[in-house]
């Protein structure tokens, strides 16, 4: 699911740090943003906007971090509003709801682990591409080399 790829240049120390921070940003924001799924996205979006003029390595990883957060936003928002509707309206807790929350938790944990792994690798200047997100990011990020 996660591939380590060789880029045709070696990212510098500063680049590796910024790229790694883009993943850390989403992890830190999870602590604040757990009840409100949009916070993680906003945090990575701000970081992305701040670094979109950076080098290819930095831009690429900021985009991958942003895209992964974006898909989690859909899953988490749906779960969030479902919970709100159970608390405040006539909705009842059903097996479907509990199953959804468990599925969402599984996906969140997977993403969480992948994010930590990628943050560590990119800090060392290693280029890590996620399955699907890696391809999508390559399509979005134009190489300046």
């Amino acid at each position: 699911m996660i591939n380590v790829k060789q880029l045709n240049y070696k990212p510098g120390e500063h680049e590796a740090e910024t790229a790694s921070n883009s993943y850390l940003m989403s992890l830190i924001a999870i602590i604040v943003g757990l009840p409100l799924p949009i916070i993680n996205l906003i945090a990575t979006l701000i970081f992305y906007l701040g670094n979109r003029k950076g080098t290819y390595f930095v831009r690429w990883h900021c985009t991958q971090a942003l895209l992964s957060q974006l898909s989690m936003l859909f899953i988490n928002s749906f779960g969030f509003w479902w919970t709100i509707s159970i608390t405040f309206t006539d909705e009842n807790i059903s097996s479907n709801y509990i199953a959804y929350i468990i599925a969402a938790i599984i996906f969140n944990i997977t993403e969480f682990i992948a994010t930590i792994y990628t943050a560590i690798k990119t800090r060392k200047g290693i280029h890590v591409e996620w399955w699907f997100y890696g391809n999508l990011t390559t399509l979005i990020c134009k190489s300046d080399l």
Binding site: T87, A99, F132
Partner: protein
């Protein structure tokens, strides 16, 4: 590009597939959701009813109990509601009020019966409260207003007597959200029509009591806590307009008058 789309679709399918497989497990049963709610409701019902038993006097005269019971039984039988579930109590109090407590307790104040012009008006209010019970509005309101954790602590003996008393009072003197009240009104009209009781007097009752000139204004708990009585009366009339059927009285006029006389004493 094509590869990314296929991979994206696989991720979506993977999520939906995980969800679908997980729905095959009866989580409600695994986590005992219903059971917890049911035993909590049962205990809360008893706790709140005890508060009213201590502070108010109940009318247990067989004549009053049987007469109100005739009305409740007709409504229940016509609407496939288990009559044994409902615990109906008549409390001696001048307030024009009726309300539901958890665990299917239905409280009717004598003031409501005395100030109803006919049995259909009383039946309308009773149907409205039965609708709240059957639609589980009472527990939902409690969970929303004071939270499940506080409710559970009450039932395990950790709740303070003052909080229990205040909550019981809140249930008797505040209305539900407007949308929930409307839902109960509409359900009440369904109950009334199925039980062959004319719903129009129920609407008249709301009109009458929303009129400030009425001498009973001081005791209008049921109407003052249920906002926009005129609007409610209008949609009740609107909803029942095209559903005319033959109506049958449940009790005779003599019985009704005698019940009122008895409660006035």
């Amino acid at each position: 590009m094509k590869k990314a789309i296929i991979q994206g679709a696989i991720i979506i399918l993977l999520f939906l597939g995980t969800w679908f497989i997980l729905t095959k497990i009866n989580w409600v049963k695994v986590f005992k959701v219903q059971k917890i709610t049911y035993t909590t409701e049962e205990k809360l019902g008893e706790l709140f009813w005890e508060v009213f038993q201590k502070t108010e006097k109940e009318n247990r005269s067989p004549y009053a109990v049987n007469t109100v019971d005739s009305i409740v039984t007709r409504i229940c039988n016509a609407n496939n509601i288990d009559r044994k579930l409902l615990k109906v109590h008549i409390l001696i109090k001048d307030d024009i009020n009726a309300f539901a407590l958890p665990n299917e307790h239905l409280i009717v104040y004598s003031g409501l019966i005395i100030n109803s012009d006919n049995q259909e008006e009383l039946s309308g209010v009773i149907c409205h409260e039965i609708a709240h019970i059957m639609l589980n509005h009472v527990m939902k309101k409690l969970v929303k207003e004071i939270g499940l954790s506080v409710l559970i602590s009450m039932t395990t003996g950790n709740g303070s007597a003052e909080i229990i008393k205040e909550t019981a009072k809140m249930l008797s003197s505040t209305a539900f959200d407007r949308s929930i009240e409307k839902e109960a009104d509409i359900k009440a009209v369904d109950y009334l029509i199925k039980a062959k009781i004319n719903p129009e007097p129920f609407a008249d009752f709301l009109f009458k009591l929303s009129d400030n000139e009425n001498e009973a204004t001081n005791y209008l708990t049921w109407v003052s806590t249920h906002p926009d009585s005129k609007e409610r009366a209008e949609y009740i009339i609107e909803y029942s307009k095209d559903r005319k059927s033959e109506y049958k009285a449940i009790i005779t006029t003599e019985t009704w008058d005698k019940l009122k006389e008895l409660l006035k004493e």
